[in-house]
């Protein structure tokens, strides 16, 4: 599997990264090299092996479904690039 410029453009769009067209070929080259290197995992027989997502899954716990903190709108907005009243503001989405 090789990644071409078109694929890079697609991944960049999924990742919301505005990678300039003139850089996309170089990025494709780098990604191909890395992916070719991880291909060695194909040598490993993983038949019947469950994926491991969390090493401590035995310790996972439930907690009471209660509010622990809140009412801190000003803290949450403190680093907002743009805000109005108690809201984050973004460019117009709906015409």
């Amino acid at each position: 599997m090789t990644i071409d410029q078109k694929t890079v453009a697609k991944i960049a769009s999924l990742a919301r990264l505005k990678i300039p067209v003139e850089e996309q070929n170089a990025v494709a080259g780098e990604l191909n090299k890395i992916l070719a290197w991880v291909e060695q995992l194909n040598e490993v027989d993983v038949e019947g092996i469950e994926p491991l997502a969390n090493v401590n899954d035995a310790f996972l716990r439930a907690r009471p479904d209660v509010v622990t903190e809140g009412g801190s709108a000003q803290d949450i907005l403190a680093n907002a690039p743009s805000q109005t009243a108690d809201f984050f503001t973004v460019p117009k989405v709906v015409e």
């Binding site: 999924l14 990742a15 505005k18 992916l35 996972l60 984050f88």
Partner: protein, 495 residues
């Protein structure tokens, strides 16, 4: 008299308690040292907080005067700029968080300050902790206080290792007594080895990740760095513990790590994994490894050969799982709630322009890899496959620990390299992590202890790996290794 900046944390606590020195004196000496390092352009700090440190030191002296001093009261520390600090800018060494000032405190720093720790400032790192050199920082590379003895290379500026580059450099340069680090794939242990200091990454779940800016959540873990095993134990005892705010924090008691120090290793079994003898490794690394084994044998431990058959797959597994988790974690930087915003033609364009401008090259590279391996059609082939091999890697360790109590290995293939080296080829840089990522994937604790100097005059450490939640054994074996190695070398630059 020993310079205040040469004291260990343990010695300083003793002197503070004996009223030989005050916290203000200790802090002032370290601030003067920080300023000297700054003049030497080591680029250790992103945000120094000297006024805050002086204030904290004054309060510390007042607490001690009324007999209320905590375990680290008055000790000047450097905080990796990945830990959110309330009211103090926290950048993750990224432009995207240039002006981010948290309104909350990370659990780990809260615990350190609660025990009386003094913060000298927020120190440099690889951007979002993605790197093994400190070079990917948007604030420029951290310069190591070490420079080799080879005259042809004396002018080269070296990396202190990464990603906890500022933490390691600060401790080696004697401008901080200890520091926090984080370790996702080796980011505490490799810089500790390169800088001639001690660093421990505890078991996954031991320290709270709350308030630590996320890179790869199933691998990230905070730990302590200092100049002695005892100092890292003292710090970790304060930093560790269950935290309901972190869903993966584990509710098990934190033992008194200090009690383990200096304990006998007689009869303990130390495993030497055959698979870590890789081709092309610096022969000095293997010689140092043998020396470490000899030290522990001399101390009464039994050296046993072990096998970790899936070792060679750890690095490719890591470079699938870590970028996948990073691509998800870093989705939050969208120019809406915090951080940089670059305007665009519409909302989507604003996201994409913000993220391209805000993230550096290595971070973008990992987001791209992560997005690809998680994308429709490739998820099973890459991400699920990596997770399945990850289980085999953990199983290797579980089997090995039936035969031994701790595992001894090198932490990295060689000594510190020059700024700019290994930058052109990401794969070459990724190989830096070959001996460290294995235990992150298995969730195990690891400690790096300085053991000697290479021919080139640069420090080399050794790594000990332990069973989950058994940092106590690690501290015991590490202190035996430390004692036997007697590492006292100092870098050419000390403040």
């Amino acid at each position: 008299m020993t310079k205040l900046t040469d004291l260990t944390i343990t010695e300083a606590v003793h002197k503070l308690n004996a009223k030989d020195i005050s916290a203000v004196e200790l802090t002032d000496a370290h601030i003067a040292a920080c300023e000297k390092a700054d003049k030497a352009a080591l680029n250790i700090f992103i945000t120094p907080t000297y006024d805050l440190a002086r204030h904290q030191a004054k309060e510390s002296d007042a607490r001690r005067a009324v007999g209320q001093a905590g375990a680290l009261d008055g000790i000047p520390l450097a905080i990796k700029d990945l830990f959110c600090t309330k009211g103090v800018r926290t950048t993750a060494a990224s432009h995207i968080l240039n002006n981010f000032v948290p309104t909350y405190e990370s659990t780990v720093t809260q615990k350190l300050f609660g025990a009386g720790g003094v913060m000298l400032g927020k120190v440099n790192l690889d951007e979002f902790a993605m790197g093994s050199s400190g070079v990917t920082s948007a604030f420029g590379p951290t310069i190591s206080p070490w420079s080799g003895t080879d005259p042809a290379q004396a002018a080269r500026k070296l990396v202190p290792g990464g990603s906890s580059s500022g933490s390691a450099a600060a401790i080696a340069a004697r401008i901080a007594m200890g520091a926090t680090g984080t370790d996702t794939g080796g980011s505490i242990r490799q810089p500790a080895s390169f800088s001639g200091i001690v660093g421990i990454r505890p078991t996954y779940g031991r320290c709270s990740r709350w308030g630590v800016i996320a890179y790869a959540s199933s691998l990230d873990q905070a730990g302590s760095m200092a100049r002695t095993v005892g100092d890292t134990a003292l710090m970790l005892r304060t930093m560790a513990g269950f935290d309901p705010k972190d869903a993966t924090s584990v509710d098990v008691p934190v033992p008194d790590y200090l009690a383990a120090l200096g304990g006998s290793v007689k009869g303990m079994k130390i495993g030497i994994p055959h698979e870590y003898r890789i081709d092309g490794i610096n022969p000095e690394t293997n010689a140092l490894w043998d020396k470490g084994a000899a030290i522990l044998r001399e101390a009464g431990a039994e050296i046993v050969p072990i096998n970790l058959p899936h070792t060679k797959y750890a690095l490719p597994v890591y470079y699938i799982i870590a970028p996948a988790e990073a691509s998800s974690n870093l989705a939050r930087y969208d120019g809406v709630r915090f951080g940089l915003r670059v305007e665009g033609e519409n909302l989507n364009d604003m996201y994409a322009a913000t993220r391209f401008a805000g993230f550096g090259k290595e971070v973008r590279r990992r987001i791209m890899i992560g997005t690809y391996v998680l994308s429709a059609g490739y998820y099973d082939a890459y991400y699920r496959k990596a997770q399945r091999v990850r289980r085999l890697i953990r199983h290797d360790f579980l089997q090995a620990f039936e035969k031994c109590d701790a595992i001894l290995t090198p932490p990295s293939p060689g000594t510190a390299f020059a700024i700019g080296e290994k930058q052109d080829d990401p794969l070459q840089m990724y190989l830096e992590d070959v001996f460290t990522v294995t235990l992150n994937l298995a969730g195990l604790p690891g400690i790096c202890v300085p053991v000697g100097l290479a021919q080139n005059g640069l420090p080399m450490g050794l790594q000990l790996i332990g069973r989950a939640f058994d940092e106590t054994t690690l501290f015991k074996v590490a202190s035996a290794l430390e004692k036997g190695a007697g590492f006292t070398a100092k870098p050419p630059f000390t403040a």
